[in-house]
Assembly symmetry: C2
Homo-oligomer: 147 residues x 2
DNA sequence: ATACATGCAAATGCTTTGCTGGGCT
DNA sequence: AGCCCAGCAAAGCATTTGCATGTAT
């Protein structure tokens, strides 16, 4: 599934900065789009289904590039590798630091905070792939039982 | 600087779970307390000033333990190693995903969100060591200049 | 005696770097 | 020509695991 709009946008953005659109970059972006929350490793596998010779180094370099351009975002959910998604897949994760469980909530809940930070600090919070750490309902219950 | 209160509390908590209080654990907790935002590596160095034979493996295992007990928290600021602090050192980080810069803001700004999540999801958000990702003022300006 | 803790070395996982050659502009 | 880009191999850093030893209950 190739998103023509994004592809054009990317091509232009790259060109404006003296960079080039390449098949590899297209494939990485497509992979991130279709996978949602994929690690670099998983993205590499997907890309290699189409172009088996693409190296994981290229995946890393491209993800880094796309991230800086704002086309994809990465989030550190649990411990291991970060998780990449396209910018318009919007939601917030609640990560429990006790059991590691993850639940998603709508990112509209952060709208007030986004406004506050924009005014206060000139900081444009990216609420689309946030990982919020805390204690989930179940672990809270367990803690109380031990006390 | 040994915090006697925390030390006693830790001893009891550990004992309740069939674990033991050891010099190593005490030293790690003290190091995290005094350093604020230290990587496991830095914590290890501090601990080794007192007890040179303590292995970094023990640092990792102890940090993991203290984290699960809620006595310390770790945050993934930029890319590298996570940063550990004691639970009561409260503030929120704004991490710019473009340039990597980090600024701190008071965590009271998150109080409304904490309340929302508590009611909505039974999730106890730990606002004390949050890393919020977005674009900082300077990088926003640069983006606009390119367009 | 048993279960928990630590040290050490090796393994693992994830990511970056240096270098080379190929392709655009 | 000069710059951008991808592939490959190697290095790098952070963290985990296995195992033997030590220590408290």
């Amino acid at each position: 599934m190739v998103d023509v709009e994004t592809a054009r946008g990317l091509r232009k953005t790259l060109h404006d900065r003296g960079m080039r659109m390449t098949p590899q970059r297209q494939l990485v972006l497509d992979a991130v789009r279709s996978l949602e929350h994929a690690t670099p490793e998983q993205i590499c596998q997907r890309v290699q289904e189409t172009a088996p010779t693409v190296n994981i180094t290229t995946i890393y370099r491209t993800l880094d590039l796309l991230d800086r351009l704002g086309l994809v975002r990465h989030t550190h959910l649990g411990h291991g590798a970060p998780s990449y998604s396209v910018e318009d897949h919007r939601h917030v994760h609640l990560v429990c630091h006790v059991c590691g469980s993850i639940q998603e909530i709508p990112c509209e809940l952060l709208d007030p905070l986004v406004g506050t930070l924009r005014e206060r600090d000139g900081f444009e919070l990216d609420a689309s792939h946030l990982a919020l750490s805390g204690t989930c309902r179940d672990c809270l219950k367990q803690e109380q039982e031990i006390e």
